[in-house]
Amino acid sequence: MIGLELLLLIFLVFCAIATVLCKRLVSAIIIFMAYSAVMSLIWFLLQSPDLAITEAAVGAGMTSLLFFLTLQRINQLKGLEQDEDNTKQ
């Protein structure tokens, strides 16, 4: 059990560093989604199912969706199509 917990925790740190260092904003947000999903797993291991449900719906769903919609609006202001690279401007 400790092995699984350690694996998830190290994955968490790895995800956090990758989110920060990633050049493309879209990829960074997708990695942040993975981070939230793993976080909800960890909360399930910590015997808090309430938190796990909320984090899965809110962190992986709502927050990333808001980030994506903001990026879409910004790309629209730039006059680009939606899925183009955001940083190479």
Binding site: I2, E5, L6, L9, L12, V13, A16, I17, T19, V20, L25, A28, I29, F32, Y35, S36, M39, I42, W43, L46, Q47, S48, P49, D50, L51, T54, E55, V58, G59, M62, T63, L66, F67, T70, L71, R73, I74, L77, K78
Partner: protein, 125 residues
């Protein structure tokens, strides 16, 4: 020493996550990355609180009749974190809308460029 770190693994990892978020919030020039850093700090603190509430061998606090209270984990941090998560989303939405407004005015997500443009605008008027 290593055993102690292994014992306190949740606390250590939450501190590391907090540090990553903190450095991102201070040093990354991109506004969206700054907001992601803020979210990282949020979740790390939630992880710390949830780990504080855990009791070894405890169950989730769905109480059965006639059971002793030491069988369950501490419900207080759980309640705090539950409301905290939802409020974190609303603050994220607020920050993102502010970012959008800034982008509409200055056409950049880079905070340095925004500050320089704002300074230019002040000097021009």
């Amino acid at each position: 020493m290593l055993e102690l770190i292994l014992e306190q693994r949740y606390y250590m990892i939450s501190i590391i996550l907090f540090a990553i978020g903190f450095v991102t919030l201070f040093l990354h020039p991109n506004l969206i990355k700054k907001i992601i850093g803020l979210n990282l700090m949020d979740t790390s603190i939630f992880l710390f609180l949830a780990a504080m509430g855990y009791v070894g061998g405890g169950q989730a606090p769905i109480i059965e009749e006639g059971s002793s209270w030491t069988m369950y984990i501490n419900p207080v941090p759980g309640g705090l974190v539950l409301t905290g998560i939802v409020v974190a989303v609303s603050t994220t939405a607020l920050f993102l809308s502010l970012t959008h407004r800034l982008y509409r005015k200055y056409h950049s997500l880079n905070l340095d460029v925004i500050l320089m443009l704002a300074k230019k605008g002040q000097e021009d008027t």
